[in-house]
């Protein structure tokens, strides 16, 4: 390879890269590649009949990694939705933990096998537990931010959802509440153009999710969700505003999912293969690789090494999770209520 790694001249041609910093850019890329490989393996183990169900993130990796990198993991509170596996990886959930989740093992830190996969929860990263009903975490985000502010923390609360969620009552009630109280929340919408089968034009009469922000008197921005740098910059601005007491922001990342809604969905019923193919031309992973190479931050050798490392990581995580013991049925009545007596 003749590329000069990270040359100032090459980076200067892409000022956004310069602003983000090469270490962060490379970290973003690694997570995107790892997420895609884990994601593809999840579909394989589902199709092999080893797990009953998966719900994944392919196509939305850039939006998620860009947002995660704007947060302080373990300090900021995070309320993800079920498509956020890349976000979770970027915050610090391990591949092994993600696979334990997919295999519903006892050791799954999200729920010990109680919830469907991708219903994330992890106290060490302040990731609050979520459910399947769409949008219910949006009021929780306002409440979590209220608690953080009352204690005088400088943490923000990050809340993620799809564009379908913005039609729910809880979106309206939660965003309005946070706006009225000027709470430090980032409302992050990954607009992948479909809520299962229903396209955006059947979901809302406005042109964009970001336009909804005006109704709450808060800033709303739309960014290219296939560009992790653009997402990082938009979310960083929202985080800085929130930390400074400027209240919530609605950030919309325009993206696309390459896989069906879940392993139980057949997306050919509502969108054409050519539309999916067309969208894949803006697959965020090759786009980012090309950009890094053009900036002299990446070369074929590094790519080969990364692919090998990622394949090994995915194999190890899958093998570990596959052999890990399932939850003990004798525990099924535990944790209905607190097991220790209430503090006096």
């Amino acid at each position: 390879m003749a590329t000069v790694k990270g040359s100032a001249a090459a980076r200067a041609a892409d000022p956004a890269l310069e602003a983000v910093g090469s270490a962060r850019l490379l970290a973003m890329y690694r997570i995107m590649v790892l997420s895609r490989a884990l994601d593809e393996r999840m579909w394989i183990v589902q199709r092999q009949g080893k797990v009953p169900f998966v719900i994944t993130a392919q196509g939305q990796e850039a939006a998620q990694v860009g947002a995660a990198m704007a947060l302080r993991p373990g300090h900021d509170v995070v309320l993800p939705y079920y498509r956020d596996m890349t976000l979770m990886l970027a915050l610090g959930m391990t591949p092994k933990e993600l696979m334990l989740n997919v295999f519903s093992r006892a050791e799954d830190p999200n729920s010990g096998g109680r919830q469907m996969p991708a219903h994330f929860s992890l106290p060490r990263l302040r990731v609050l537990t979520g459910s399947s009903p769409v949008g219910t975490q949006i009021p929780h985000a306002a409440g979590a931010a209220l608690a953080s502010r009352l204690r005088g923390e400088d943490s923000v609360t990050f809340c993620s959802f799809g564009e379908g969620a913005t039609s729910t009552g809880d979106f309206h009630e939660g965003v309005n509440f946070a706006a009225v109280l000027r709470l430090p929340v980032i409302f992050f919408c990954q607009n992948n153009r479909y809520a299962i089968s229903v396209p955006q034009r059947r979901q809302m009469a406005v042109e964009s999710v970001a336009a909804r922000a005006a109704a709450y008197g808060i800033p709303g921005v739309s960014v290219d969700g296939q560009d992790p740098v653009a997402v990082f910059q938009a979310v960083t601005e929202a985080v800085e505003r929130a930390r400074a007491g400027g209240g919530p922001t609605l950030v919309e990342a325009l993206t696309y999912r390459y896989v069906p809604h879940t392993s139980d969905d057949d997306d050919r019923l509502y969108r054409s293969p050519s539309e999916v193919e067309q969208s894949r031309r803006r697959d965020p992973i090759p786009l980012m690789r090309q950009r890094l190479m053009e900036a002299g931050l990446w070369d074929d050798e590094q790519e080969r090494a990364l692919q090998e490392e990622v394949a090994r990581t995915v194999d190890e995580a899958t093998a570990y999770a596959e052999q890990a013991p399932p939850p003990d049925p004798a525990t099924v009545m535990r944790h209905v209520f607190a097991e220790r007596p209430a503090a006096g």
Binding site: L128, L146, R149, F177, L181, R334, H335, A342
Partner: protein, 327 residues
């Protein structure tokens, strides 16, 4: 010990818990400047400030949903729903979220939340200011459902609810707010969630009641006592988890059981208590179980004659006691 109204006992509990624990906040419609439509929160805003006593937008789902997020993130919120009739938009947040947070996270997260709501009929409140919603919530594992009938229990149980690690639906019989006075012990008076209370001892039959119906049941018991019928009255206080032992202990003693509630008949608490007796004490029963309830009308009508036609009263309860004692 001082004699207080129920509404005063509730206000005292909130005040004392807010003073005791800086994690306790109060939020809901009109709870701040106005002090609540029943003035349960009067004076709290002045004392604890707008960060802890929060007048919210008119958004029941967010009132509960925000409280849930705050509870997961370390606070002890007390959310007020202005009338139990308005709790339904928050049903998803209560049932799908609050009740399931501990279970679904395998014990990693908890939701120490109290949802207070005035409930019940008898105040000419019509369809949407009279509802009894307790059975919806008592059906959901993960929720505790508490209904006090006396000022002392209102104070002690509300303090216990605020200190509880899990979500508590605290339903206040609004007709009792000012009507019912009683002695409230001084000091840090806490009544544990769970145990029912034998409000009146008796030999011939057991009448289980809660909330405002407890008082009517006690009056009916007094009436029939003059005719030689000795009624044991059990005040449930906590509907979920149900104090099975106290109910069964009383039924085994008297051999006759009736349940009184102003909730609808079908799948109300009476149905569960009757099933409990059938499963655990059938051979102790000397007569079929009876229920005195609101009939299965969609809600309480407004006109006085219509409300009186559906709401159990002392005469109806006393009549049922006489019939049950004779069987």
């Amino acid at each position: 010990m001082a004699v207080k109204r129920m509404i005063e006992a509730i206000r005292e509990a909130l005040d004392e818990e807010m003073a005791r624990d800086s994690r306790v906040i109060v939020l809901g419609e009109d709870v701040g400047v106005k002090g609540g439509v029943f003035v349960a929160t009067r004076g709290l805003l002045e004392k604890y400030g707008p960060d802890r006593v929060i007048d919210t937008p008119l958004s029941e789902s967010a009132i509960v949903g925000v409280a849930i997020g705050a509870a997961m993130n370390g606070l002890r919120p007390v959310a007020e729903i202005q009338f139990a009739d308005f709790i339904h938009p928050a049903m998803d947040q209560i049932v799908n979220e609050a009740a399931r947070i501990r279970y679904r996270s395998n014990g990693a997260w908890g939701c120490p939340l109290v949802v207070r709501a005035p409930y019940g009929a008898g105040i000419r409140g019509g369809l949407y200011h009279s509802q009894s919603v307790e059975s919806f919530f008592a059906h959901v594992p993960g929720l505790k459902v508490v209904i006090p009938a006396t000022p002392a229990d209102a104070k002690g149980l509300l303090k216990a609810a605020i200190r509880d690690e899990d979500p508590v639906i605290f339903l206040e019989p609004k007709r009792a707010y000012r009507l019912i006075q009683g002695e409230v012990p001084d000091g840090d008076w806490v009544v544990p969630i769970g145990p029912a209370r034998v409000a009146r001892e008796g030999r011939h039959l057991t009448a289980v009641a809660y909330g405002m119906m407890l008082h009517l049941t006690l009056q009916a018991a007094e009436q029939v006592a003059r005719e030689g019928i000795s009624v044991e009255v059990v005040d449930l206080r906590t509907l979920a988890p149900l104090d099975r032992e106290t109910i069964l202990g009383s039924v085994r003693k008297t051999g006759r059981l009736m349940i009184v509630h102003e909730d609808n008949r079908t799948l109300g608490m009476g149905a569960e208590i009757a099933a409990l007796a059938a499963e655990e004490a059938l051979y102790d029963l000397d007569a079929p179980v009876r229920r005195v309830t609101m009939p299965d009308v969609p809600a309480t009508p407004f006109a006085a004659v219509l409300e009186d036609a559906v709401l159990p009263d002392v005469d109806r309860i006393a009549r049922a006691m006489r019939e049950l004692a004779r069987e």
